[in-house]
Amino acid sequence: MRVIVGQGSCGIAAGAGKVYNALEKLMNDQDSFKLGITGCIGMCFLEPIVDIYEGEDLKARLVHVSENDADAIVNAVRNNDIASLSGLFIKDEDKSFLDQQTRIALRNCGIIDPTDINSYKARDGYKALEKVLKMTPEEVIEEVKTSGIGGRGGAGFPTWFKWNAARSSKGEEKYLICNADEGDPGAFMDRAVIESDPHNLIEGMLIGAYAIGAKEAIVYVRAEYPLAIIRLDNAIKQAKEAGLIGENILGSGFSCNIRYMAGAGAFVCGEETALIESLEGKRGMPRLKPPFPAVAGYKMKPSNINNVETFANIAWIINNGGEAFAAMGTEGSKGTKVFAVTGKVVRGGLVEIPMGQTLRHVIFDIAGGIRDGKQIKAVQMGGPSGGCIPERLLDTVIDYKALSATGAIMGSGGMVVMDENTCMVGMAKFFLDFTSKESCGKCVHCRIGTRRMLEILTNIVEGKGKEGDIELLEELCLSIKDGALCGLGQTAPNPVLTTIKYFRDEYEAHIKEHKCPSKECRDLLSYVINPDKCKGCTLCARKCPVQAISGETKQPHTIDQSKCIRCGQCIQGCKFDAISIE
């Protein structure tokens, strides 16, 4: 038997490392079972997760495991009494989270040991590379074309087209680059792939390098992903040792080196031209296009840049054929897409499903709907570059065009679900705060424009909004989209535009009535004591950090609004449910 502890960043954050150590401590030489690790299975809401395998059969999946459970686990495995762990078993409804998915990019995640190349090889690892090396590059590109896969970084631009452009560009020296600078708040698809299945990425990159004729491939990975970097570094070494990276790979005559570079954490470096500048050791600022990287990219040589998830699909496409991939999805969007579902859902985590399913299906059937019985308000797709989609449009299918039609975008896969208590103006402000801080500062529209938008939004949520602010925001949005230099600036207005489009009434309530309908904007709230319910216990007055509450003992108390800082201490302390937010 094997006891496998999920050791992605999410699992470790939840305590998987401690669980592993506890299990290791309890094991002795006589134990016949093995302890191992795997990456992220994608069920963040159940971490730490421990899987018990008999051969390749998953005997049990234990969830929310703590180090205190180690004893019971070791004993159960020793005594072959898995049933004794039933209290830790994953619930059936939670199982459905995985059962409803179709995993291609994530096919090995949470299953194989990401630190062991043989674990990858055991699941057809590097078979696609072997196959590709017997094909011509043109045939490879043709296969990718058949699959219909589009760039998973967000724009969905046909991968074969970029490969073909780079291949067709004149010059001996070409580069293949993997964009692993996953910067959207709430997105962690790429991290999961690198941490959980790094060889899959390497294999995809080698195939891409072969197709375009690159002898050097570089992974640009954000430094905030230390575990991913360790696993990638390890995987590259293993692949080199196995003759899969370097000179004359598998005796094919094809040579390619792969290295990685850690980016220092600027969001804009996820923009391909800024990424190239950063790779070259310069300040990460976008270049003007054209020339496109396929013509003059890294070191001004033809370069191809794809996202992690795109590469993670390639080996599967080669192994199973482009047609099998294209059989999934919609007319315009083929294959599957990975989403990082977060926010107010019951089950948050990684979801990979074929294109063409509805957002409602993802949020309600897979992610289990909204927590605490609340109503869904909207879902933010595509992070700061994307937009929100309101509840009434949740039957929109996952498809590049269909999502764009709502004003949002497919994006790289961030899906933040918001409930009735989320203020949409505050949400827009959150994203503008992000984009304005992450603007590289080069172009005027983005550098100052996003700043001004943030200032206006800040005024609105603080109750200082003015008549005309919505129109001014809309005007700025459109001009910034037109005038900004790169994708970051051109898409930065999207959260504002979509929230205005779908939730204009919330903006108006803030500006005209100085009210936040979601009761989230602190400056627009007032805490009020209901005199009928208040027993005069004085607890709230004692808890109030600014002495804003006064009243005689056993008499209803009152809150001085001019002093109140809306910290919520009183409401938490009240035993009589006498305090409400208005």
Partner: protein, 678 residues
Amino acid sequence: MSDIKITINGKECIGQSGETILKIAQDNGIFIPTLCHDDSVAHYGACGVCLVEGEGLPKLMRSCSTVAADGWVVSSETPRVLQARKVALELLMSDHDGDCKGPCSLTCPAGTDCMAYVKAISKGDYHEAVRIIKEKFPLPASIGHVCPHPCEDECRRQYVEQPISIAYLKRFAGMKDLEKDTWKPEVLADTGKKVAVIGGGPAGLTAAYFLKIKGHDVTIYDAMPQMGGMLRYGIPQYRLPKSVVDAEVEEIRALGVNMLNNVKVGKDITFEEIRKTHDATIIAIGAWTSSKVGCAGEDTEGVVGGIDFLRGIILGNPMDIGENVAIVGGGNTAMDACRSSVRLGAKKVYVIYRRTRNEMPADDEEISEAIEEGVEFKFLTNPAEIISENGHVKEVKLQVMELGEPDASGRRSPVPVEGKFEYIKVDTVIAAIGQKVNPDGFDVELNKKGIICADETTFRTNLEDVFAVGDATNKGAGIAIAAIGEANKAADVVDSYLNGEIIPYKKPFVSIRRDLEKVKAELSLREKAPRAVVPKRPAEERKNDFNDIVINLSEEDVMKEASRCLECGCHDYEDCKLIKCANCQEICPERLAGQYHPGFVEEKLVVIERNQNKCILCNLCVRVCDEVAGKGILGLVGRGFTTIIKPEFNDPAMIAGCKDCLKCAEACPTGSLKILTK
């Protein structure tokens, strides 16, 4: 390279393949604004000003970097481009913490470039100072004597200690330049157009001066015996010696302006006749009728208007004022009248003013000097009745007042204290409470107050060929420099009218620092250097004659005073690309006003002062330093809105290497980089 054809702004242009849209436009004489592009360095694309829209192309393109393709049809003036450019410029200006012009110049109704002429004076170059002043009006010495100098009220030096003595400096320079080789403008060739200017006061003289320079045949018609208007007849000699007015009038006459005196329109010549014989007419007749006191007995013998009183003195027949004189009013005319009364020998001179000294519109200095000369101020009183004896003024009954609530002007309004009166015995009452326009003889549209209506941007009356400026128009009497400012602008408008297409005056857009507190904080750190005190003759001496009361400063003191100027305006105003672009289209940065990016002024680059507050991050300095000078001393630091340009690593050795280059400062499109010495 092969030829390609593209259409830019409707014009067919030939370019070479591989060339950018901007390059082809420039080669074909089409102007597309840009701030961050310079041919000496690689394109960069930061400013977003050079945007163009191509037919059938979805996105706007940066013309500086987009290589044109044969057959493209692009425009830099589509509504979409103009909107995106407008927002770019508004964003830039909303973040541009700099003053194009000093508050002195912006406050001056004539827009005189105070900073520039004060700087010239600080170098002792009075000729240059006068040249600068005469870009705006031809009477520097006269105005230097009399101007109530709103410029000084706004002078930022007051936040260090006291404002610069701008008016006196102008007077000094004007007088110096009159001594010999007076600066003279170039007069353009005769256009064959005839212009009549009615009224030879400051406004009329100014209009005539500029129209003459532009080559028109100008004639001034004036009702008085000599030119100068109120400068001559409304201001006492002790403030403005008439020899000064004479000299400056002669300068204007010498340019070829025809000057006709003792010609009153409606009496000596009809308005119609003037119109018929000229291509354009400018009315600048001023406001020469004194307002009445407004109480019982106001028409009694011995009650006279302030300007009528002053005019009599200048004309050499001062009225007999007796021993006791009361002047009603609190403005500068009241001061002129009371101080002239003292000089005419009155034993007791009162000024009756219904508010207190704080509310008096007259110059504070004038009030002090009047007090020194023995004038008694009856504050918080108002004439209730002028009492006569034998048909002549004998006494004024004064209603005692107190200050009530502030009125529309912000001044507390005087309210009568019921039943409380005072009496003063007087022989003469001089009403200096305002002037009215006498439009008799002019068949033009008047407003409700009987003042000539003139359009505020074209100065045109209801008659196509007739324009009007100064005290005779719209709001009525004001200060001389305001009338001059209108005359100057009107001269341009009239010139455009004579050239066939009237171009209304448009106030240029300028950058103004919004955060006065920040300015004050910066200035409070400056070393103090007190304002020069311009000495006056002792009161006991000066009150006996009409001679100039000022004792001139030495040249050394004048230059020292001028060197106190903080040079608030931008050294680069004339060459600044940013402000030129900002004036290319209508913009309103105020609507986007927010925080400024963090900025400071530093002199780290040896001979270049870097004012980060004005930096627009076009990065030209960085790129030129790297690509042209090959030094790479500068770099960007920080991210987003807080990005600034700094010497890389602040390495002193590296910075020292930049000494003689100056290429960055030359490339800077704004006034962010200033060469300190060269």
